[in-house]
């Protein structure tokens, strides 16, 4: 271990230390003023974000190739930190309102972010596993944070049991890969894989690995937990979980598969193709029947996982993999902002005792809270993929990559399912704008600000996406 090793994980280190300190500091913060903890954690996230951004352009590898610092990780880390910030901002008022304001909330959130960031940097399967658990365990707790509310506890337990179950597969997959390639380092794996002749063990291992990640990103058929957990967990947690865990899961999936398993790409492509298509179809189709906004967004989240999965399909094709991955990264950004915004609106309307979450509770929102309704409309349009939102740009980027790689039918499934998705997203708009009702919404400054910022980003970036495009494509440049 040398100073370079530390540089590679500098932001992670800072955030970890900060989280530990915060855990202690929190003890001295009175119960009624846990907002301070929130502010402190936000401060930590912001500072880390600063360090992360300062690392743009740096390329390094540390701890004997266990972690890497590159454009990709920086990009993902920055996105994760922003997600963390947004998560804190959303939670600030929410936890107070729901009577679950406890300091651990923020600490757990920070630890989870740490896990996610580590995931983006991991180049060794051991670290991947560690990071996965590090991000998951706090989320299990957060999901059950509304205890003694049964829904929340149930969500926590379900998430936990199924999460552990899927990490069982992950670990076993790693074991098989280790057996097949005699290494857990992804660079060593790729070398070993290219020389060996029989890949069955490796293939099975990789498939099991895929299942582990698939669970995290909620790909069909590993998605079953998603709606229940999203519904049961406190909404602020759901918001963070649906973006952060997805980003991290995809980041690891991208790095591991693109780096370690190009040799078995032909086999995996079919699997990924089907996974992606199934995820898009199931997610969107099932979402139609939802009347609970949280479940609706949960299925929407599944569906979007399907879209992102499309970029993995051509991962073995050297010519297009860079574009694909860049497209995936951009889509993650667009999804993160849109998603946080949408959850923000949900939080604004949520009442205690789980009220205010039915779709019909949004009736007449445009009259009572035009700005909130407008923001939600923007998010819905973005999720559909319509101008003038970042969602459209993201989708176009994705589809371009898919078409570029020659998977036209997958693209067709993609666009058709987004047509299906238009139906339920539009229903939200219909209810807000075209039905009468007397909804009440909480207007907390931080919440409003979050919603406003995400809405603005969603719209404005759609006009000037080139900077993000450039960053995303630079980020993946050195990955291969």
């Amino acid at each position: 271990m040398n100073q370079f090793d530390l540089t590679t994980i500098l932001p992670i280190t800072i955030l970890t230390v900060w989280a530990c300190v915060l855990l202690l500091v929190d003890l001295f913060i009175p119960k009624t003023r846990k907002g301070i903890t929130a502010l402190l954690s936000a401060l930590g996230l912001a500072a880390t974000l600063g360090f992360t951004l300062s690392q743009i352009g740096m390329e390094d590898s540390g701890f004997n190739g266990m972690v890497a610092l590159d454009g990709f990780s920086t990009f993902v880390n920055a996105l994760l930190l922003v997600s963390g910030l947004l998560g804190v901002a959303l939670a600030y008022g929410y936890v107070k309102r729901m009577g679950i304001e406890r300091g651990e909330y923020y600490t757990l959130l920070l630890f989870s972010v740490v896990g996610m960031m580590l995931m983006a940097q991991a180049t060794d399967l051991i670290v991947v596993f560690l990071a996965l658990e590090l991000l998951s365990i706090p989320l299990y707790v957060l999901a059950a944070f509304s205890r003694p509310k049964t829904d929340s506890e149930e969500a926590g337990l379900k998430y936990f049991l199924l999460g552990a179950f899927s990490s069982g597969f992950l670990v076993y997959g790693i074991a098989l890969i280790f057996g097949a390639t005699q290494s857990t380092n992804i660079f060593a794996i790729v070398e070993s894989a290219s020389t060996s002749t029989s890949n069955l063990l490796l293939t099975i291992g990789a498939a099991l690995l895929l299942i582990g990640f698939g669970f995290k990103v909620a790909a069909v058929p590993f998605h079953m937990w998603t709606p229940d957990v999203y519904q049961g967990a406190p909404t602020a947690v759901t918001a963070f979980m649906s973006s952060g865990a997805k980003i991290a899961g995809f980041a690891a999936l991208l790095r591991v598969f693109a780096t370690a398993f190009p040799a078995i790409a032909t086999d995996m492509t079919d699997v990924l193709w089907v996974l992606s298509a199934a995820t898009m179809i199931v997610g969107n189709v099932v979402a139609i029947a939802q009347t609970d906004i949280k479940r609706l967004l949960a299925y929407s989240s599944i569906a979007h996982a399907g879209y992102i999965l499309m970029v993995f399909v051509p991962y073995g094709n050297e010519n297009v993999v860079a574009t694909s991955v860049a497209a995936g990264l951009f889509y993650l950004v667009s999804y993160a902002f849109t998603n946080f915004g949408a959850w923000g609106v949900v939080i604004a309307l949520e009442k205690k005792e789980g009220k205010g979450l039915a779709l019909n509770d949004y009736a007449g929102l445009s009259k009572r809270h035009p700005a909130l309704a407008a923001a939600m409309a923007v998010f819905m349009l973005s999720l559909i993929g319509l101008p003038p939102t970042i969602g459209l740009i993201g989708k176009i980027y994705l589809f371009r990559a898919v078409i570029d790689a020659g998977f036209v039918w997958l693209a067709i499934i993609g666009v058709l399912t987004s047509l299906v998705s238009a139906f339920y997203y539009l229903r939200v708009i219909v209810v807000m704008y075209m039905k009468d009702g007397e909804p009440t919404a909480e207007r907390e400054p931080w919440l409003d600000m979050t919603t406003a910022v995400t809405a603005l980003v969603t719209v404005i970036v759609s006009f000037v996406p080139q900077f993000l495009f450039a960053w995303a494509s630079d980020a993946v440049l050195k990955l291969f």
């Binding site: 051991i126 596993f129 560690l130 658990e133 365990i137 299990y140 707790v141 059950a144 205890r147 003694p148 049964t150 829904d151 506890e153 149930e154 969500a155 926590g156 337990l157 379900k158 936990f160 049991l161 552990a164 179950f165 990490s167 069982g168 597969f169 670990v171 076993y172 790693i174 074991a175 098989l176 280790f178 057996g179 005699q182 290494s183 857990t184 709606p227 229940d228 957990v229 519904q231 049961g232 939802q290 609970d292 479940r295």
Partner: protein, 100 residues
Amino acid sequence: MIPVDYYIILSAILFVIGVLGVLIRRNALIIFMSIELMLNAANLAIVAFGSVIKSFDGQIFVFFVIAVAAAEVAVGLALIVEIFKSKRSIDVDQMSSLKG
């Protein structure tokens, strides 16, 4: 010396038993134990593979897994305790209020 395949087969059997345990048992604790079984099956495989290539990597990894599993146990048990407090039951089939 026992060929590595035997270990792998054993670990696979253990793993399947674990999986089936998760699927079949309704007691949260036992499900949890089955998951541990799955992890340990993986550990067995790793150690076996590690011994084949005469590397400590595998054993180190196993330590990590054990540690993580311990952490999971802590969280998991806490969750189960909480559930038990409110439901007076740890039958996972009774935890089905979230659906649809």
